[in-house]
Protein backbone atom coordinates (compact mmCIF):
# COMPACT_ATOMS: atom_id res chain seq x y z
CA UNK A 1 0.00 0.00 0.00
CA UNK A 2 2.69 2.41 1.04
CA UNK A 3 4.65 1.40 -2.01
CA UNK A 4 1.65 2.05 -4.22
CA UNK A 5 1.19 5.49 -2.72
CA UNK A 6 4.84 6.32 -3.19
CA UNK A 7 4.67 5.13 -6.78
CA UNK A 8 1.65 7.26 -7.51
CA UNK A 9 3.30 10.25 -5.90
CA UNK A 10 6.43 9.57 -7.86
CA UNK A 11 4.41 9.36 -11.06
CA UNK A 12 2.65 12.60 -10.29
CA UNK A 13 5.94 14.17 -9.51
CA UNK A 14 7.39 12.95 -12.79
CA UNK A 15 4.33 14.15 -14.66
CA UNK A 16 4.65 17.54 -13.01
CA UNK A 17 8.28 17.59 -14.08
CA UNK A 18 7.33 16.87 -17.67
CA UNK A 19 4.66 19.52 -17.70
CA UNK A 20 7.05 21.97 -16.10
CA UNK A 21 9.71 21.09 -18.64
CA UNK A 22 7.24 21.52 -21.46
CA UNK A 23 6.00 24.89 -20.30
CA UNK A 24 9.51 26.07 -19.48
CA UNK A 25 10.59 25.12 -22.94
CA UNK A 26 7.68 27.06 -24.39
CA UNK A 27 8.07 30.19 -22.31
CA UNK A 28 11.71 30.13 -21.29
CA UNK A 29 12.92 28.70 -24.56
CA UNK A 30 11.73 31.74 -26.37
CA UNK A 31 13.68 34.18 -24.24
CA UNK A 32 16.96 32.54 -23.22
CA UNK A 33 19.67 33.51 -25.60
CA UNK A 34 22.40 31.21 -26.74
CA UNK A 35 25.26 30.87 -29.08
CA UNK A 36 23.70 28.49 -31.58
CA UNK A 37 20.45 30.37 -32.01
CA UNK A 38 19.69 31.40 -35.53
CA UNK A 39 16.90 31.93 -38.02
CA UNK A 40 16.98 29.65 -41.03
CA UNK A 41 14.86 30.92 -43.87
CA UNK A 42 13.77 29.00 -46.94
CA UNK A 43 11.92 31.05 -49.51
CA UNK A 44 10.63 29.75 -52.79
CA UNK A 45 8.38 30.60 -55.70
CA UNK A 46 6.40 28.03 -57.66
CA UNK A 47 4.91 28.56 -61.08
CA UNK A 48 2.41 25.94 -62.17
CA UNK A 49 0.89 25.88 -65.60
CA UNK A 50 -1.48 23.41 -67.24
CA UNK A 51 -1.59 22.86 -70.98
CA UNK A 52 -4.56 24.00 -73.12
CA UNK A 53 -5.03 27.14 -71.04
CA UNK A 54 -6.43 25.38 -68.02
CA UNK A 55 -5.28 26.33 -64.53
CA UNK A 56 -2.14 28.31 -63.91
CA UNK A 57 -0.90 29.22 -60.48
CA UNK A 58 1.78 31.28 -58.80
CA UNK A 59 2.71 30.30 -55.29
CA UNK A 60 5.27 32.12 -53.16
CA UNK A 61 6.25 30.55 -49.85
CA UNK A 62 8.48 31.63 -47.01
CA UNK A 63 9.43 29.37 -44.15
CA UNK A 64 11.45 30.64 -41.20
CA UNK A 65 12.81 28.37 -38.49
CA UNK A 66 14.28 29.57 -35.23
CA UNK A 67 16.67 26.95 -33.85
CA UNK A 68 17.14 27.23 -30.11
CA UNK A 69 19.43 24.23 -29.98
CA UNK A 70 19.89 21.08 -32.03
CA UNK A 71 16.50 19.70 -30.99
CA UNK A 72 14.37 22.73 -30.22
CA UNK A 73 12.86 24.80 -32.97
CA UNK A 74 10.04 27.12 -33.84
CA UNK A 75 8.85 27.34 -37.42
CA UNK A 76 6.57 29.78 -39.20
CA UNK A 77 5.44 29.30 -42.75
CA UNK A 78 3.51 31.66 -44.94
CA UNK A 79 2.15 30.54 -48.31
CA UNK A 80 0.11 32.49 -50.82
CA UNK A 81 -1.22 31.33 -54.11
CA UNK A 82 -3.25 32.72 -56.91
CA UNK A 83 -5.04 30.48 -59.36
CA UNK A 84 -6.47 31.53 -62.67
CA UNK A 85 -7.84 29.65 -65.63
CA UNK A 86 -10.46 27.09 -66.31
CA UNK A 87 -11.29 23.84 -64.64
CA UNK A 88 -13.48 20.95 -65.88
CA UNK A 89 -16.98 21.32 -64.47
CA UNK A 90 -17.77 17.61 -64.66
CA UNK A 91 -20.19 17.69 -67.62
CA UNK A 92 -19.44 15.54 -70.66
CA UNK A 93 -18.58 17.05 -74.04
CA UNK A 94 -21.44 16.93 -76.53
CA UNK A 95 -22.08 17.14 -80.26
CA UNK A 96 -24.08 20.29 -79.51
CA UNK A 97 -23.06 23.63 -78.01
CA UNK A 98 -23.67 23.49 -74.26
CA UNK A 99 -24.50 26.43 -72.05
CA UNK A 100 -23.97 26.30 -68.31
CA UNK A 101 -25.21 28.48 -65.49
CA UNK A 102 -22.25 30.05 -63.70
CA UNK A 103 -21.84 29.10 -60.01
CA UNK A 104 -23.21 32.44 -58.84
CA UNK A 105 -26.29 32.05 -61.03
CA UNK A 106 -25.70 35.52 -62.45
CA UNK A 107 -24.25 34.50 -65.77
CA UNK A 108 -23.43 31.66 -68.05
CA UNK A 109 -20.59 30.14 -70.02
CA UNK A 110 -20.60 27.71 -72.86
CA UNK A 111 -18.67 24.88 -74.44
CA UNK A 112 -18.54 24.39 -78.20
CA UNK A 113 -19.56 21.07 -79.76
CA UNK A 114 -16.99 18.38 -78.96
CA UNK A 115 -15.22 20.60 -76.45
CA UNK A 116 -14.47 19.84 -72.79
CA UNK A 117 -16.84 21.92 -70.65
CA UNK A 118 -14.57 24.15 -68.57
CA UNK A 119 -15.69 26.62 -65.97
CA UNK A 120 -13.56 29.66 -66.71
CA UNK A 121 -14.94 31.65 -63.80
CA UNK A 122 -12.46 29.68 -61.69
CA UNK A 123 -10.18 32.15 -59.91
CA UNK A 124 -8.85 32.12 -56.43
CA UNK A 125 -6.31 33.50 -54.01
CA UNK A 126 -5.28 31.62 -50.91
CA UNK A 127 -3.18 32.66 -47.97
CA UNK A 128 -2.06 30.12 -45.37
CA UNK A 129 -0.05 30.56 -42.22
CA UNK A 130 1.25 27.69 -40.15
CA UNK A 131 3.47 27.38 -37.15
CA UNK A 132 5.12 24.51 -35.39
CA UNK A 133 7.08 24.13 -32.18
CA UNK A 134 9.24 21.07 -31.53
CA UNK A 135 11.25 20.35 -28.41
CA UNK A 136 12.59 17.52 -26.31
CA UNK A 137 10.98 16.64 -22.99
CA UNK A 138 14.01 14.69 -21.84
CA UNK A 139 16.48 12.23 -23.34
CA UNK A 140 13.78 9.75 -24.26
CA UNK A 141 10.87 11.92 -25.26
CA UNK A 142 10.12 14.79 -27.58
CA UNK A 143 6.97 16.59 -28.55
CA UNK A 144 5.67 18.99 -31.14
CA UNK A 145 2.65 21.26 -31.39
CA UNK A 146 1.41 23.21 -34.36
CA UNK A 147 -1.34 25.37 -35.72
CA UNK A 148 -2.60 26.21 -39.16
CA UNK A 149 -4.94 28.77 -40.66
CA UNK A 150 -5.80 29.38 -44.29
CA UNK A 151 -8.20 31.61 -46.12
CA UNK A 152 -9.53 31.90 -49.65
CA UNK A 153 -12.60 33.81 -50.77
CA UNK A 154 -14.84 30.76 -50.42
CA UNK A 155 -12.92 28.52 -48.01
CA UNK A 156 -11.47 28.84 -44.52
CA UNK A 157 -9.53 26.25 -42.60
CA UNK A 158 -8.28 26.17 -39.05
CA UNK A 159 -6.21 23.30 -37.72
CA UNK A 160 -4.08 22.11 -34.84
CA UNK A 161 -1.62 19.27 -34.58
CA UNK A 162 0.52 17.64 -31.97
CA UNK A 163 3.01 14.84 -31.82
CA UNK A 164 4.80 12.83 -29.22
CA UNK A 165 7.95 10.83 -29.90
CA UNK A 166 9.63 8.16 -27.86
CA UNK A 167 13.24 7.24 -28.54
CA UNK A 168 14.28 3.66 -27.96
CA UNK A 169 17.32 1.52 -28.50
CA UNK A 170 19.85 4.37 -28.17
CA UNK A 171 17.77 6.59 -30.42
CA UNK A 172 18.00 4.09 -33.24
CA UNK A 173 14.25 3.60 -33.05
CA UNK A 174 11.75 6.43 -32.76
CA UNK A 175 8.07 5.83 -32.17
CA UNK A 176 5.86 8.76 -33.00
CA UNK A 177 2.21 9.39 -32.45
CA UNK A 178 0.76 12.40 -34.21
CA UNK A 179 -2.75 13.78 -33.86
CA UNK A 180 -4.38 16.50 -35.87
CA UNK A 181 -7.75 18.16 -36.15
CA UNK A 182 -9.09 20.80 -38.46
CA UNK A 183 -12.29 22.62 -38.98
CA UNK A 184 -13.15 24.03 -42.40
CA UNK A 185 -15.87 26.33 -43.64
CA UNK A 186 -17.01 26.48 -47.25
CA UNK A 187 -19.01 29.42 -48.48
CA UNK A 188 -19.36 28.86 -52.22
CA UNK A 189 -20.12 31.60 -54.65
CA UNK A 190 -23.87 31.65 -55.07
CA UNK A 191 -24.47 29.62 -51.89
CA UNK A 192 -24.45 25.89 -51.28
CA UNK A 193 -26.27 24.08 -54.12
CA UNK A 194 -28.58 21.17 -53.45
CA UNK A 195 -26.84 17.91 -54.27
CA UNK A 196 -28.26 15.93 -57.23
CA UNK A 197 -30.70 18.75 -57.95
CA UNK A 198 -30.98 20.02 -61.51
CA UNK A 199 -28.81 23.07 -62.14
CA UNK A 200 -31.29 25.94 -62.58
CA UNK A 201 -31.16 28.47 -65.40
CA UNK A 202 -30.31 31.41 -63.17
CA UNK A 203 -30.28 32.81 -59.64
CA UNK A 204 -33.98 33.65 -59.70
CA UNK A 205 -34.81 29.96 -59.32
CA UNK A 206 -36.13 28.77 -55.98
CA UNK A 207 -33.20 26.36 -55.74
CA UNK A 208 -30.95 29.41 -55.47
CA UNK A 209 -33.10 31.44 -53.12
CA UNK A 210 -33.39 28.67 -50.51
CA UNK A 211 -29.65 27.96 -50.42
CA UNK A 212 -27.48 28.08 -47.33
CA UNK A 213 -24.55 30.45 -47.44
CA UNK A 214 -22.06 28.05 -45.97
CA UNK A 215 -21.31 24.53 -44.92
CA UNK A 216 -18.60 23.06 -42.77
CA UNK A 217 -16.48 19.99 -42.44
CA UNK A 218 -14.19 18.65 -39.78
CA UNK A 219 -11.17 16.46 -40.19
CA UNK A 220 -9.31 14.40 -37.63
CA UNK A 221 -6.22 12.42 -38.25
CA UNK A 222 -3.81 10.24 -36.39
CA UNK A 223 -0.51 8.83 -37.50
CA UNK A 224 1.58 6.21 -35.82
CA UNK A 225 5.11 5.83 -37.11
CA UNK A 226 8.35 4.01 -36.54
CA UNK A 227 11.63 5.50 -37.67
CA UNK A 228 14.54 3.10 -37.62
CA UNK A 229 18.23 3.67 -38.18
CA UNK A 230 19.32 0.64 -40.18
CA UNK A 231 23.04 1.30 -40.39
CA UNK A 232 25.49 4.19 -40.67
CA UNK A 233 24.08 5.19 -44.05
CA UNK A 234 20.47 4.07 -44.03
CA UNK A 235 17.32 5.21 -42.30
CA UNK A 236 13.79 3.91 -42.72
CA UNK A 237 10.31 4.95 -41.70
CA UNK A 238 7.04 3.08 -41.58
CA UNK A 239 3.75 4.87 -40.85
CA UNK A 240 0.16 3.98 -40.47
CA UNK A 241 -2.29 6.85 -40.62
CA UNK A 242 -5.99 7.24 -40.34
CA UNK A 243 -7.97 10.27 -41.39
CA UNK A 244 -11.66 10.94 -40.97
CA UNK A 245 -13.59 13.76 -42.59
CA UNK A 246 -17.16 14.57 -41.86
CA UNK A 247 -19.55 17.26 -42.99
CA UNK A 248 -19.80 18.82 -46.42
CA UNK A 249 -17.31 16.96 -48.63
CA UNK A 250 -18.95 17.80 -51.94
CA UNK A 251 -17.44 20.15 -54.52
CA UNK A 252 -20.13 22.83 -54.90
CA UNK A 253 -18.92 23.82 -58.38
CA UNK A 254 -19.01 20.37 -59.95
CA UNK A 255 -21.93 19.03 -61.95
CA UNK A 256 -22.89 15.88 -63.89
CA UNK A 257 -24.49 15.44 -67.29
CA UNK A 258 -27.58 13.31 -67.62
CA UNK A 259 -27.37 11.28 -70.82
CA UNK A 260 -30.37 10.01 -72.79
CA UNK A 261 -30.24 6.20 -72.59
CA UNK A 262 -33.37 5.51 -74.64
CA UNK A 263 -31.77 3.30 -77.28
CA UNK A 264 -34.86 3.49 -79.49
CA UNK A 265 -34.81 7.29 -79.76
CA UNK A 266 -32.64 9.42 -82.03
CA UNK A 267 -30.96 11.18 -79.09
CA UNK A 268 -29.38 7.98 -77.77
CA UNK A 269 -26.17 9.00 -75.96
CA UNK A 270 -26.97 12.72 -76.28
CA UNK A 271 -27.75 15.17 -73.49
CA UNK A 272 -31.06 14.38 -71.86
CA UNK A 273 -33.41 17.32 -72.07
CA UNK A 274 -36.49 18.39 -70.15
CA UNK A 275 -38.46 21.37 -71.47
CA UNK A 276 -35.76 21.85 -74.08
CA UNK A 277 -33.06 22.34 -71.47
CA UNK A 278 -30.16 19.94 -70.96
CA UNK A 279 -30.33 18.32 -67.56
CA UNK A 280 -27.23 18.79 -65.40
CA UNK A 281 -27.19 17.87 -61.72
CA UNK A 282 -25.09 19.24 -58.89
CA UNK A 283 -22.80 16.52 -57.62
CA UNK A 284 -23.24 15.00 -54.17
CA UNK A 285 -20.76 13.06 -52.07
CA UNK A 286 -21.29 11.16 -48.81
CA UNK A 287 -20.92 13.27 -45.69
CA UNK A 288 -18.14 11.21 -44.20
CA UNK A 289 -14.93 9.65 -45.39
CA UNK A 290 -12.45 7.41 -43.64
CA UNK A 291 -9.02 7.14 -45.21
CA UNK A 292 -6.21 4.89 -44.08
CA UNK A 293 -2.72 4.73 -45.40
CA UNK A 294 0.51 2.86 -45.03
CA UNK A 295 3.69 4.67 -45.83
CA UNK A 296 7.23 3.43 -46.11
CA UNK A 297 10.29 5.53 -46.81
CA UNK A 298 13.96 4.67 -46.99
CA UNK A 299 16.92 6.91 -47.39
CA UNK A 300 20.37 5.63 -48.16
CA UNK A 301 23.67 7.37 -48.68
CA UNK A 302 26.20 5.65 -50.91
CA UNK A 303 29.99 5.59 -50.48
CA UNK A 304 30.28 8.43 -53.00
CA UNK A 305 27.91 10.54 -50.83
CA UNK A 306 25.01 10.35 -53.29
CA UNK A 307 21.62 9.90 -51.64
CA UNK A 308 18.72 7.71 -52.72
CA UNK A 309 15.30 8.50 -51.27
CA UNK A 310 12.46 6.07 -52.06
CA UNK A 311 8.96 5.99 -50.68
CA UNK A 312 5.78 4.05 -51.21
CA UNK A 313 2.28 4.82 -49.99
CA UNK A 314 -0.78 2.62 -50.08
CA UNK A 315 -4.04 4.36 -49.34
CA UNK A 316 -7.60 3.10 -49.18
CA UNK A 317 -10.84 4.67 -48.03
CA UNK A 318 -14.48 3.85 -47.47
CA UNK A 319 -15.42 5.61 -50.70
CA UNK A 320 -13.82 2.71 -52.53
CA UNK A 321 -10.71 4.58 -53.61
CA UNK A 322 -7.42 2.74 -53.34
CA UNK A 323 -4.15 4.21 -54.47
CA UNK A 324 -0.47 3.46 -54.79
CA UNK A 325 2.22 6.10 -54.88
CA UNK A 326 5.90 5.48 -55.56
CA UNK A 327 8.32 8.36 -55.26
CA UNK A 328 12.04 8.16 -55.93
CA UNK A 329 14.77 10.76 -55.82
CA UNK A 330 18.47 10.39 -56.38
CA UNK A 331 20.77 13.22 -55.37
CA UNK A 332 24.15 13.40 -57.09
CA UNK A 333 26.32 15.47 -54.78
CA UNK A 334 29.31 17.43 -55.93
CA UNK A 335 31.41 19.76 -53.78
CA UNK A 336 28.94 22.57 -53.37
CA UNK A 337 26.31 21.59 -55.90
CA UNK A 338 23.82 18.83 -56.37
CA UNK A 339 21.61 17.50 -59.11
CA UNK A 340 18.55 15.49 -58.20
CA UNK A 341 16.40 13.61 -60.72
CA UNK A 342 12.96 12.76 -59.35
CA UNK A 343 10.27 10.33 -60.43
CA UNK A 344 6.78 9.82 -59.08
CA UNK A 345 4.10 7.39 -60.14
CA UNK A 346 0.58 7.42 -58.78
CA UNK A 347 -2.43 5.29 -59.55
CA UNK A 348 -5.89 5.28 -58.05
CA UNK A 349 -9.09 3.33 -58.54
CA UNK A 350 -12.38 5.18 -58.69
CA UNK A 351 -14.75 5.98 -55.84
CA UNK A 352 -17.88 3.83 -55.73
CA UNK A 353 -20.13 6.79 -56.51
CA UNK A 354 -17.96 8.16 -59.30
CA UNK A 355 -19.83 8.29 -62.53
CA UNK A 356 -18.74 10.11 -65.70
CA UNK A 357 -22.42 10.82 -66.45
CA UNK A 358 -25.84 9.67 -65.24
CA UNK A 359 -28.39 7.70 -67.29
CA UNK A 360 -31.71 9.42 -67.93
CA UNK A 361 -33.62 6.31 -66.87
CA UNK A 362 -31.94 6.11 -63.47
CA UNK A 363 -30.64 9.52 -62.45
CA UNK A 364 -33.41 10.15 -59.97
CA UNK A 365 -32.52 7.00 -58.06
CA UNK A 366 -28.87 7.62 -57.16
CA UNK A 367 -27.88 8.62 -53.62
CA UNK A 368 -24.46 10.01 -54.43
CA UNK A 369 -22.72 10.89 -57.64
CA UNK A 370 -19.70 12.82 -58.81
CA UNK A 371 -18.10 13.15 -62.22
CA UNK A 372 -14.99 14.78 -60.75
CA UNK A 373 -12.11 13.11 -62.62
CA UNK A 374 -10.11 13.26 -59.37
CA UNK A 375 -12.41 10.55 -58.00
CA UNK A 376 -12.21 8.41 -61.14
CA UNK A 377 -9.66 5.87 -62.32
CA UNK A 378 -6.50 7.86 -62.65
CA UNK A 379 -2.79 7.39 -63.31
CA UNK A 380 -0.32 10.20 -62.91
CA UNK A 381 3.39 10.58 -63.57
CA UNK A 382 5.83 13.24 -62.47
CA UNK A 383 9.34 13.62 -63.75
CA UNK A 384 11.51 16.32 -62.27
CA UNK A 385 15.00 17.63 -61.85
CA UNK A 386 16.27 19.70 -58.96
CA UNK A 387 19.53 21.59 -58.91
CA UNK A 388 21.13 23.31 -55.94
CA UNK A 389 24.18 25.49 -55.43
CA UNK A 390 25.57 26.06 -51.95
CA UNK A 391 27.52 29.26 -51.39
CA UNK A 392 30.46 29.59 -49.02
CA UNK A 393 28.29 31.37 -46.44
CA UNK A 394 26.05 28.29 -46.26
CA UNK A 395 23.21 29.89 -48.18
CA UNK A 396 21.73 27.89 -51.04
CA UNK A 397 20.11 28.66 -54.35
CA UNK A 398 17.96 25.93 -55.86
CA UNK A 399 15.60 25.35 -58.71
CA UNK A 400 13.38 22.52 -59.81
CA UNK A 401 11.60 21.84 -63.04
CA UNK A 402 9.03 19.09 -63.34
CA UNK A 403 6.39 17.79 -65.69
CA UNK A 404 3.16 16.27 -64.45
CA UNK A 405 1.00 14.03 -66.61
CA UNK A 406 -2.46 12.65 -65.82
CA UNK A 407 -4.35 9.89 -67.60
CA UNK A 408 -7.99 9.22 -66.76
CA UNK A 409 -9.97 6.26 -67.88
CA UNK A 410 -13.42 4.80 -67.48
CA UNK A 411 -16.53 3.66 -69.26
CA UNK A 412 -16.96 5.11 -72.75
CA UNK A 413 -20.73 5.53 -72.78
CA UNK A 414 -23.08 4.62 -75.61
CA UNK A 415 -24.64 6.04 -78.73
CA UNK A 416 -23.55 9.59 -79.55
CA UNK A 417 -21.46 9.80 -76.41
CA UNK A 418 -18.92 7.26 -77.70
CA UNK A 419 -17.64 9.80 -80.22
CA UNK A 420 -16.79 12.24 -77.41
CA UNK A 421 -13.50 12.37 -75.51
CA UNK A 422 -14.71 11.63 -71.99
CA UNK A 423 -11.34 11.22 -70.32
CA UNK A 424 -8.96 13.88 -71.52
CA UNK A 425 -5.45 13.77 -70.10
CA UNK A 426 -3.75 16.66 -68.42
CA UNK A 427 -0.23 17.96 -68.68
CA UNK A 428 1.28 20.52 -66.36
CA UNK A 429 4.70 22.07 -65.97
CA UNK A 430 6.08 23.31 -62.68
CA UNK A 431 9.03 25.56 -62.09
CA UNK A 432 10.28 26.28 -58.61
CA UNK A 433 13.04 28.70 -57.68
CA UNK A 434 14.22 29.12 -54.13
CA UNK A 435 16.85 30.51 -51.83
CA UNK A 436 17.82 29.34 -48.34
CA UNK A 437 19.59 31.68 -45.97
Amino acid sequence: MAVAVTNTMKKNHELAKILAAASCALVGGLSTAHAEESWDVDSAFLLYSESDGRVSAAEPVISATRNYDSETSLNFKLVADTLTGASPNGATPSDQVQTFTSPSGNGSYSAAAGEQPLDDTFRDTRVALSSNWAAPINRDWAYGVGGYVSKEHDYQSLGVSSSLSRYLNQKNTTLTLGLGASSDTINPEGGVPTGLFQVPEDASSSEFTQRNDSESKSIMDAVFGITQVVNRNTIMQFNYSINTSSGYLTDPYKILSVIDDDSTGNNYGGNYTVNNRNVYLYEKRPDSRLKQSLYWQTKHQFENNDILDVSYRYMFDDWGVTSHTVDAKYRFRFNNQYLEPQLRWYTQSKADFYSRYLDSSAYTEVDFASADYRLGDLDTYTIGLRYGYQFADETEFYTRFSLYHQESSGDDGYGKLTSQELYPGLDAAMLMVGYKF
Binding site: T32, S70, N138, L164, F224, T244
Partner: protein
Protein backbone atom coordinates in the same frame (compact mmCIF):
# COMPACT_ATOMS: atom_id res chain seq x y z
CA UNK B 1 -18.37 9.94 -33.99
CA UNK B 2 -17.60 6.39 -32.90
CA UNK B 3 -14.41 6.62 -34.86
CA UNK B 4 -13.44 9.86 -33.14
CA UNK B 5 -13.96 8.39 -29.70
CA UNK B 6 -11.96 5.34 -30.70
CA UNK B 7 -9.18 7.50 -32.02
CA UNK B 8 -8.98 9.46 -28.80
CA UNK B 9 -9.03 6.31 -26.68
CA UNK B 10 -6.33 4.73 -28.79
CA UNK B 11 -4.21 7.85 -28.53
CA UNK B 12 -4.60 7.99 -24.76
CA UNK B 13 -3.73 4.33 -24.47
CA UNK B 14 -0.63 4.70 -26.58
CA UNK B 15 0.55 7.67 -24.53
CA UNK B 16 -0.02 5.79 -21.32
CA UNK B 17 1.81 2.72 -22.52
CA UNK B 18 4.73 4.64 -23.87
CA UNK B 19 5.24 6.92 -20.91
CA UNK B 20 8.18 6.16 -18.70
CA UNK B 21 10.54 8.85 -17.61
CA UNK B 22 14.29 8.76 -17.27
CA UNK B 23 15.80 10.38 -14.21
CA UNK B 24 18.74 12.73 -14.60
CA UNK B 25 21.72 12.38 -12.28
CA UNK B 26 22.51 15.48 -10.31
CA UNK B 27 24.70 14.13 -7.50
CA UNK B 28 28.11 12.52 -7.41
CA UNK B 29 28.21 8.74 -7.51
CA UNK B 30 29.36 7.57 -4.03
CA UNK B 31 32.95 6.25 -3.95
CA UNK B 32 31.89 2.72 -3.05
CA UNK B 33 29.63 2.51 -6.12
CA UNK B 34 32.00 4.21 -8.53
CA UNK B 35 33.73 2.23 -11.29
CA UNK B 36 37.28 2.68 -12.44
CA UNK B 37 37.93 4.40 -15.73
CA UNK B 38 38.19 1.80 -18.53
CA UNK B 39 41.11 1.85 -20.95
CA UNK B 40 43.00 4.08 -18.54
CA UNK B 41 46.36 2.85 -19.78
CA UNK B 42 45.58 3.23 -23.47
CA UNK B 43 47.72 6.00 -24.99
CA UNK B 44 45.94 8.16 -27.55
CA UNK B 45 47.46 10.71 -29.93
CA UNK B 46 47.12 14.24 -28.67
CA UNK B 47 46.11 17.24 -30.83
CA UNK B 48 48.70 19.31 -29.02
CA UNK B 49 51.38 16.67 -29.85
CA UNK B 50 52.57 13.38 -28.38
CA UNK B 51 50.33 10.81 -26.76
CA UNK B 52 48.47 10.68 -23.49
CA UNK B 53 46.73 8.01 -21.42
CA UNK B 54 44.14 8.79 -18.79
CA UNK B 55 46.26 6.98 -16.22
CA UNK B 56 49.14 9.39 -16.71
CA UNK B 57 47.11 12.32 -15.39
CA UNK B 58 45.49 10.42 -12.53
CA UNK B 59 46.43 12.93 -9.87
CA UNK B 60 43.98 15.42 -11.32
CA UNK B 61 40.21 15.63 -11.54
CA UNK B 62 39.31 14.80 -15.15
CA UNK B 63 36.44 15.86 -17.30
CA UNK B 64 36.55 13.25 -20.09
CA UNK B 65 34.31 14.32 -22.94
CA UNK B 66 33.53 12.25 -26.04
CA UNK B 67 32.70 14.36 -29.09
CA UNK B 68 32.59 14.48 -32.89
CA UNK B 69 32.83 17.34 -35.37
CA UNK B 70 29.40 16.60 -36.92
CA UNK B 71 27.57 16.84 -33.61
CA UNK B 72 25.86 20.18 -32.98
CA UNK B 73 25.69 20.05 -29.17
CA UNK B 74 29.40 19.09 -29.10
CA UNK B 75 30.23 22.31 -30.92
CA UNK B 76 28.08 24.20 -28.44
CA UNK B 77 30.00 22.68 -25.55
CA UNK B 78 33.44 23.83 -26.74
CA UNK B 79 33.38 27.39 -25.32
CA UNK B 80 32.06 26.10 -22.01
CA UNK B 81 34.80 23.47 -21.71
CA UNK B 82 37.45 26.09 -22.50
CA UNK B 83 36.02 28.36 -19.80
CA UNK B 84 35.80 25.67 -17.18
CA UNK B 85 39.36 24.50 -17.92
CA UNK B 86 40.71 28.03 -17.47
CA UNK B 87 38.66 28.62 -14.33
CA UNK B 88 39.66 25.47 -12.43
CA UNK B 89 43.10 24.70 -13.87
CA UNK B 90 44.95 25.78 -10.74
CA UNK B 91 42.67 23.64 -8.56
CA UNK B 92 43.61 20.55 -10.56
CA UNK B 93 40.95 20.12 -13.25
CA UNK B 94 41.96 18.71 -16.60
CA UNK B 95 39.48 18.70 -19.46
CA UNK B 96 40.19 15.92 -21.98
CA UNK B 97 38.00 15.86 -25.06
CA UNK B 98 38.27 12.59 -26.95
CA UNK B 99 37.40 12.91 -30.62
CA UNK B 100 35.47 10.05 -32.23
CA UNK B 101 35.33 11.21 -35.86
CA UNK B 102 35.90 8.32 -38.24
CA UNK B 103 37.80 10.69 -40.46
CA UNK B 104 40.42 12.50 -38.39
CA UNK B 105 40.77 15.24 -41.03
CA UNK B 106 37.25 16.44 -40.32
CA UNK B 107 38.18 16.80 -36.66
CA UNK B 108 41.34 18.71 -37.59
CA UNK B 109 39.35 21.11 -39.79
CA UNK B 110 36.89 21.62 -36.99
CA UNK B 111 39.62 22.33 -34.45
CA UNK B 112 41.12 24.98 -36.75
CA UNK B 113 37.75 26.70 -36.80
CA UNK B 114 37.04 26.28 -33.08
CA UNK B 115 40.41 26.22 -31.27
CA UNK B 116 40.08 24.25 -28.02
CA UNK B 117 41.30 25.65 -24.69
CA UNK B 118 41.75 22.10 -23.37
CA UNK B 119 43.39 18.77 -24.19
CA UNK B 120 42.08 16.96 -27.26
CA UNK B 121 42.81 13.27 -27.93
CA UNK B 122 41.95 11.25 -31.03
CA UNK B 123 40.25 7.89 -30.83
CA UNK B 124 39.25 7.62 -34.47
CA UNK B 125 38.97 3.81 -34.33
CA UNK B 126 36.50 4.21 -31.44
CA UNK B 127 38.39 1.92 -29.04
CA UNK B 128 37.16 3.64 -25.90
CA UNK B 129 33.48 4.69 -26.04
CA UNK B 130 31.95 1.19 -25.93
CA UNK B 131 33.33 0.30 -22.51
CA UNK B 132 32.72 3.80 -21.25
CA UNK B 133 29.10 3.24 -22.22
CA UNK B 134 28.71 6.31 -24.41
CA UNK B 135 25.05 6.48 -25.43
CA UNK B 136 24.86 10.00 -26.81
CA UNK B 137 27.03 12.74 -28.21
CA UNK B 138 28.58 14.40 -26.37
CA UNK B 139 28.88 12.25 -23.27
CA UNK B 140 31.20 13.40 -20.52
CA UNK B 141 32.56 11.67 -17.44
CA UNK B 142 33.82 13.27 -14.25
CA UNK B 143 36.77 11.24 -12.95
CA UNK B 144 38.14 11.75 -9.43
CA UNK B 145 41.82 11.80 -8.42
CA UNK B 146 41.71 8.03 -7.80
CA UNK B 147 40.59 7.33 -11.39
CA UNK B 148 36.95 6.53 -10.55
CA UNK B 149 34.02 7.71 -12.65
CA UNK B 150 31.93 9.87 -10.33
CA UNK B 151 29.40 11.44 -12.71
CA UNK B 152 28.08 10.88 -16.22
CA UNK B 153 26.50 13.53 -18.34
CA UNK B 154 24.90 12.93 -21.72
CA UNK B 155 24.28 15.81 -24.06
CA UNK B 156 24.95 19.47 -23.60
CA UNK B 157 22.16 21.47 -22.02
CA UNK B 158 22.57 25.11 -21.06
CA UNK B 159 20.14 24.72 -18.17
CA UNK B 160 22.21 21.96 -16.53
CA UNK B 161 25.56 23.75 -16.59
CA UNK B 162 25.21 25.21 -13.10
CA UNK B 163 24.63 21.78 -11.64
CA UNK B 164 27.52 20.32 -13.57
CA UNK B 165 29.94 23.00 -12.45
CA UNK B 166 28.85 22.37 -8.88
CA UNK B 167 29.76 18.69 -9.23
CA UNK B 168 33.17 19.69 -10.53
CA UNK B 169 33.87 21.96 -7.55
CA UNK B 170 32.65 19.25 -5.16
CA UNK B 171 35.02 16.75 -6.69
CA UNK B 172 37.91 19.20 -6.66
CA UNK B 173 37.33 19.79 -2.95
CA UNK B 174 37.26 16.06 -2.15
CA UNK B 175 40.29 14.64 -0.21
CA UNK B 176 42.46 17.53 -1.26
CA UNK B 177 45.87 17.45 0.40
Amino acid sequence: MVIKTRLITAAALCCGLLFSVAASASRLIPIEEAKNTPHASLPLPQYQGGTLSLQSVNDQVLLVDFWASWCGPCRESFPWMSDIQAKYKTQGLKVIAINLDQDKNQALNFLKKYPPGFTVLFDNKAAMPDRFGVIGMPTSYLVDREGRIRAVHTGFHQDQLGNYEQLITQLLAENKD
